[in-house]
Symmetry: C2
Subunit: 356 residues, 2 copies
């Protein structure tokens, strides 16, 4: 079994803690280790280090290697530029197939949070079992616990395959992030799951799908194939990768393929997409203020505070996010958590590049 | 002419910048010099250093002396504990009378802001002229420019004394801080002025009034008189001062005395009573965010930001106060600016004394 961890994100919504040089997945926002380290640790009982591949941005190579010393250096693949998930997954699949013709690969982002890690591993095992049995593209759908508007949804069709206690379903359709009413309707209706972006398939199955649905991308990837694990891989990547089509695996493949199955996940999942999201995992005071650091809240409730270097006092404010990163301070309402990334463009315009 | 600068306040509403060891008047909140230094500089053309007295808290002695090296050391009088303005003024008056039997003294807090300093000096000169002419207690009433609820009001009676272009009035009554409606009514009605807490009188005139209206306090002060400018002054202060009646000069004398006159002040005045008040004097961006330090505001207006050590980014918030003092951070709405001092009690309860 192989694992591919996609660590190429920017995590700009975690500014000011995340920076161009230290994106979210390389930070210890959710625990004492970085999210990337936690992601690797989480699958260690399923996949041995020599079969774990990391795909990360070139500018983060040094940091990723330092954080994952237990992995062989050649398993850390650096993209000269980000080209979305289809290219990233395609590249990883080429490498897995080269090493192991019928290899099953688990694909997951480096920046998600899993609550019940044992159940997570159990679900992955079951999905891998199915992927070995059949040439299918399996995704994990998270059973929704709230009408979240920050996630895409998967609508399941009929039950297709039963393994032990687990039921895999066909997929009726993928839905973009809904508004609040629609999300509530999904929950009422049932049969809708959060799209986790975690996939399980044989490398050759996804490559066949890429060839079918994204032939240009596939052709580009083939130019990389001869250079895999050779001395001129970096050079070939620099020449070829930037021209690859930038498209998500969901949009480019999953929404079109006919051999997609979904397995429900009940292990507690959060895509850690914003300060408001990650704060759901933090300690809280009696007024539902979630915090990391020292907080004194006076007539203040439901705030999110990250202030590890200085005392933070809130007086008479509700539903705010306050983040102190040492050299910068952010204050915004929780319902603007998704917009934090927009600040970066403004900082650039104002010549405040040192804070990017 | 003598000046008495009352520098004994705690300025807790300026937490976290103000601390027990560094109260508001010793900080450079309104400019590059401390408010105390600015207060002294402002009256320098009227009063020479040897006639300027500072009354401050004992724990601030070292800092006050360091900030005012141009003053004779014996002009800095330290209170072992604060005992409100009547005791403080009475003590200063004893010293002025001892040095200069018919001396006129200007009394003013160390933590006010004056916009037009030349006009301020002109008004003080005129008041001093009146105090030399007559045995009166003169206070400056600030002509109100807005229905402020944070100030006491003086209601004038008839014109009593004209000197050049300046008219002094009798006082009909003193009014406590009004609510918004009452303050608006005061402005509509006319004849109401903000109580500035700035006084001008002969030392012996105020001592006569203290003897008449606060006989116990006066008796206590008399125990201090023999020790003035002697080696055992500190010891006597420690023994006597804590037992003096703690009462304001307004409540104890001004509201009762019959020889009170008010002179209008039009020099632009602010008692710098809160972050919201002081921010009226700061630079503003196009969205009326007042700031000190580096601020980037995105869809954020009418905020008050003090952040000199790190970049502050506000996204989608209005009417907030954000103060970073280096080791502590405060976030509260502007309309809670008066309550900032309440935070300190809570910090004490929580064992966070290092932030007091």
């Amino acid at each position: 079994m192989h694992a591919v961890i996609m660590a190429g994100g920017k995590g700009t919504r975690f500014w000011p803690r995340s920076r161009e040089k230290r994106p979210k997945q390389l930070l210890n926002i959710t625990g004492s280790r970085s999210m990337l380290q936690q992601t690797v640790a989480r699958i260690r009982e399923l996949v041995s280090p020599q079969y774990i591949l990391i795909i990360a941005g070139k500018s983060h190579g040094r940091e990723v290697r330092a954080q994952l010393e237990q992995l062989p250096a050649e398993n850390i693949i650096l993209e000269p530029v980000g080209r979305n998930t289809a290219a990233c997954i395609g590249l990883a699949a080429l490498l897995v197939r080269k090493r192991d013709r019928d290899g099953v690969m688990l694909v997951m982002p480096a920046d998600h949070l899993i609550v019940d890690e044992a159940l997570f591993v159990k679900t992955l095992k079951r999905a891998a079992e199915a992927a070995l049995l059949k040439d299918v593209l399996i995704t994990i759908g998270i059973r929704p616990t709230a009408p979240e508007t920050g996630y895409g949804y998967i609508e399941v069709g009929e039950p297709k395959l039963r393994l032990g206690n687990d039921q895999l379903y066909t997929v009726k359709s993928f839905h973009e992030k809904p508004n609040r009413e629609r999300a509530a309707e999904y929950l009422r209706q049932g049969g809708f799951f959060w799209n986790s972006g975690i996939f399980i398939w044989k490398a050759r199955t996804i490559l066949e799908a890429l060839q079918l649905y994204l032939p240009d991308l596939y052709a580009g990837l083939q130019k990389l194939e001869p250079a895999l694990e050779s001395a001129d891989f970096d050079q070939r990547m620099a020449a070829v990768y930037p021209d690859l089509q930038s498209i998500s695996i969901d949009y480019g493949v999953m929404e079109k393929a006919r051999n997609v199955l979904m397995i429900p996940g009940d292990f507690g999942w959060n895509d850690v997409g914003s300060w408001a999201a990650v704060a759901q995992l933090w300690p809280r005071d009696e007024n539902h203020n979630a915090f990391q650091g020292t907080l004194v809240a006076v007539e203040a409730k439901q705030n999110v505070v990250y202030s590890k270097q200085r005392l933070c006092v809130l007086l008479g404010v509700d539903d705010l996010i306050v983040v102190d990163s040492g050299d910068a301070l952010l204050v915004c309402p929780k319902n603007r958590a998704q917009d934090v990334g927009k600040v970066l463009e403004l900082l650039r315009q104002k010549g405040l590049e040192q804070y990017l």
